[in-house]
Symmetry: D2
Subunit: 322 residues, 4 copies
Amino acid sequence: MTARQGEAVYQGIAVTFSTESKGVYAIATTPFFEDGSIDFHSIDKLTDFYERSGCTGITILGIMGEAPKLEPEESRAIIQRVVSRANVPVIVGVPAPGFAAMRSLARSAMDMGAAGVMIAPTPALRTDDQIVNYFAGAVEAVGDDVPWVLQDYPLTLTVVMSPGVIAKIMANHPSCLMLKHEDWPGLEKVSKLRAMQKAGELRPFSILCGNGGMFLDFEPERGVDGAMTGYGFLDMLTKLVGLFASGRRDEAHDLFDAHLPLIRYEQQLGIGLAVRKHVLKRRGVIALDAQRKPAQMLTPTARAEVDYLLARLAKRDPRASF
Amino acid sequence: MTARQGEAVYQGIAVTFSTESKGVYAIATTPFFEDGSIDFHSIDKLTDFYERSGCTGITILGIMGEAPKLEPEESRAIIQRVVSRANVPVIVGVPAPGFAAMRSLARSAMDMGAAGVMIAPTPALRTDDQIVNYFAGAVEAVGDDVPWVLQDYPLTLTVVMSPGVIAKIMANHPSCLMLKHEDWPGLEKVSKLRAMQKAGELRPFSILCGNGGMFLDFEPERGVDGAMTGYGFLDMLTKLVGLFASGRRDEAHDLFDAHLPLIRYEQQLGIGLAVRKHVLKRRGVIALDAQRKPAQMLTPTARAEVDYLLARLAKRDPRASF
Amino acid sequence: MTARQGEAVYQGIAVTFSTESKGVYAIATTPFFEDGSIDFHSIDKLTDFYERSGCTGITILGIMGEAPKLEPEESRAIIQRVVSRANVPVIVGVPAPGFAAMRSLARSAMDMGAAGVMIAPTPALRTDDQIVNYFAGAVEAVGDDVPWVLQDYPLTLTVVMSPGVIAKIMANHPSCLMLKHEDWPGLEKVSKLRAMQKAGELRPFSILCGNGGMFLDFEPERGVDGAMTGYGFLDMLTKLVGLFASGRRDEAHDLFDAHLPLIRYEQQLGIGLAVRKHVLKRRGVIALDAQRKPAQMLTPTARAEVDYLLARLAKRDPRASF
Amino acid sequence: MTARQGEAVYQGIAVTFSTESKGVYAIATTPFFEDGSIDFHSIDKLTDFYERSGCTGITILGIMGEAPKLEPEESRAIIQRVVSRANVPVIVGVPAPGFAAMRSLARSAMDMGAAGVMIAPTPALRTDDQIVNYFAGAVEAVGDDVPWVLQDYPLTLTVVMSPGVIAKIMANHPSCLMLKHEDWPGLEKVSKLRAMQKAGELRPFSILCGNGGMFLDFEPERGVDGAMTGYGFLDMLTKLVGLFASGRRDEAHDLFDAHLPLIRYEQQLGIGLAVRKHVLKRRGVIALDAQRKPAQMLTPTARAEVDYLLARLAKRDPRASF
């Protein structure tokens, strides 16, 4: 099954990639062996773990997937592996330095059965017009039949998109189905976009939030449909989104607050990925926490700090008991 | 008393600004009336509140003190007011666009009885040499008899200082007594600096952390002497630093975790100051949460979110019951 | 006479600061003595030199006027000195770190008889909305009765304004009379703005170009009204603008090409001001080439290079024979 | 012949890529057909033109070679084509987003017979340590047996390398044979590096300058060995370098000054490549001035301006008569 081919259901959850997408899309890490080669067995285990955690989609080859450290043929092998195993839609990051490589990666991802691609602005963009034109070029390159996610991540990409710019991009490109929102601060931006939609000034699209879930205790009430992130306890995130969906606000906050110390610790640029891989390894999902170079690894002190946070978390959430 | 004149004690705490400084230095907000004029009565109440909260120092006219929105004579009036009332050392931010204005503000601050000044790098600096030379110029301008705090805040100032650069600045300028550390991530940087000191490669200096306290549950164990921030519950921060000092780690984390949702909410660039003023107003410390233009205020939704976090906090910390 | 009070004529040239302004506005340097104090006698000589060179306006306290190195009272003294001596409109740069200081400097400049102020965007601005809102705040601060020049200088200020953004600012603020255009590349931007005006989408305003005159051999034909720069041979620039006005294209290029090696040499960020002051000193206009700290001075090799270029220039333009 | 295999001579000029390299390395453009496919016949003609112009090396797949718009297999085809035809050393730009792709491109370039690669810093680097570490990682990736050129280009790459940092990189990596210097301003940096070498603090390496040749009238006397740029009149550049080598300073300046208006016009970020391709097309070297998307093309007005400059140039340099 590929999610592009209309309605799809996996374990009772609608898992089509569309403007109605809800829930949690896992930002997949890429497991490596110590020598830097790809650990495909752990990729399979990760894929299963994401689905078992209730994820409604998987995003591979994003920034946290160490995509720039991969060669093109490796990227293709990973896409093939995940797409052939997953029951939920797979989105492929195409952060190519130019449109030719972006097109080529996007087309082969779709050919292999991906549900869509994720496109981020190139860091040099400044004016609203430059941003809008960039996405016009990108969509022309990959083809306007390829469904895609717009990534809005100013902290890392240095490109700031106002609600008006997002509205223009959405108006220009019906093939954009989802916004990955990780502006910071971003709560008012979500409110503004949803208000524009309510006022009929903006067509519908799905909004999933990033930033490691740092504001996921308020984002659902602001109008987001869920999260797209790779925090080690994706099962908690899906639970959290469900609690909000059923109006259990206080319970949701209790759950969130228990995880916030760890979520916050992971939100350290550079070593965040090391924290994430360490947690996934400790949960038994991936075999090793190895990264390709250039890598920032945890010092023994940092590892002990994460373990201490995990121990504290275990008292409030059994998911952390292992 | 001015803290420059040697050992000073306030309510049993050593409060001299020195390379041995410990505890919490409050980053002071500047209270305004709705028409933009300065609310000096609230400044007095704030000064008293900071001391009552156990702060060992007060830093005024920083970024969060809306310093760039003040005219020079207003800055001087505020320095005068706080210095004449405070029993703890007062540090004055001198974020001047050029060395002439920096010198002039620093000299008059010292004349009025400030304990020292805080100097931040100008955003255009890139290479290590440029940074080191900038501080040489700044110290030449303000005079090498003026004690100062080095502010390391890459997220906002875009200047990245390696441990080696900080070491050079410290070696060049004995008048620098303290590092305000708010790099992010920054835990390893603290460890590195303290290791350099232990190895005798770096002279002693005090390190207080910023970033609104976001990592203050681990920073003391990494070697910091306390915090320099303006989070609304400074009394909690001083308590926290005290718990760590007496080795009560779990208790410290319990206290910190209760506050983290609010600390995190405040850590939103742009509206952070609005959150802070709102909390200080609700605690009855300042009369109004007004800001000078350009200001980012809380929307009704955001205000309700903060109030919800305060209500949740009140269940775990009576400081939030009001 | 102040140029604000309607039509004004100096030596037969209309010198009112208006949307019709033409010719060359000198970007004034600020002469200092070796000890860093201001050389007011050289300021007078500079003022006279600018007028003798045919300048139709003088802009003081810009980036190249070392404005950030001045204290507020010094800025005011310089404004007073130039305004009281000049027969042409004087524009005052108000590059203040906040709106309070900007307002205060702008109001006192106008009270002293300045024709208007020049406002540049603060470097942190990114989106079109942020830029437009910034100027709304600035105009509210200085007052909408103060005529002003919009400075568009991305290379140094890192803020990129599209033609659409400039159009919005011009539409919002009738008190903006002139664009100082120094985008690079910028020829097409000028053509675009003039086309928008021709199509009736944009109200009229004057455009003077900066970048040290680096493209002044083509800018007039693109539609600019002249230059605002501080190149040492302002008499050549006024001549050049005049040649274009009378359709003598080849002659204009011959003149320009003779100066281009020196114009280009001056266009080195950091040492450009040193080149400019050296040339003005050699021409006998200012007494010394001293700068306030932090300053980048010419090395002996660089000074010899400039002198070699001046010697070569003297063979083609007698203005350089001294 | 590949230039790696020791001393090589082409038409009487030593053309080995080494720390002694002199002369002009052409920055090659990549010719395309209107449909975006690669024009290999024009590549051959370009290669011949570069050699006929007296170039002592050719650098392909740089920023001005539209490298980011190429797919990996296309890059390899171009390397193959140029290497198999050229008699002078061929340097290959490897501006890969990650070390894996950089390694792969570098290794296959060397296998095909390239003389070396050119490595630029990734734009995110800030501190001296970060820069030094990046190149350590890059050299580890490509292998320390691969000769390379260090590209120092702050204006586009936003990474500023002090002379001290360059010295450290050179000390760490004997495989770095050449600095492509295009800092701006940069004359003093060259003098500083050469002085460090003279003082024995820095090992020898070749320095070729970029920036389109904008300061090539002074750089040879500062100590550079030549230029690495793609200005349409490479035959003029090789002549210029020769005039300096034989001490004919005034003559060199006369020649340079004749070209400066066009050199300067080409130095417009974004449209510079369009100017360059237009000139090469008018000189009959490449068939078309087509670029791959995203491309900035010349407007009719801009094209007319370039043609006017060419017509003026023809009066002083017969190379421009066509």
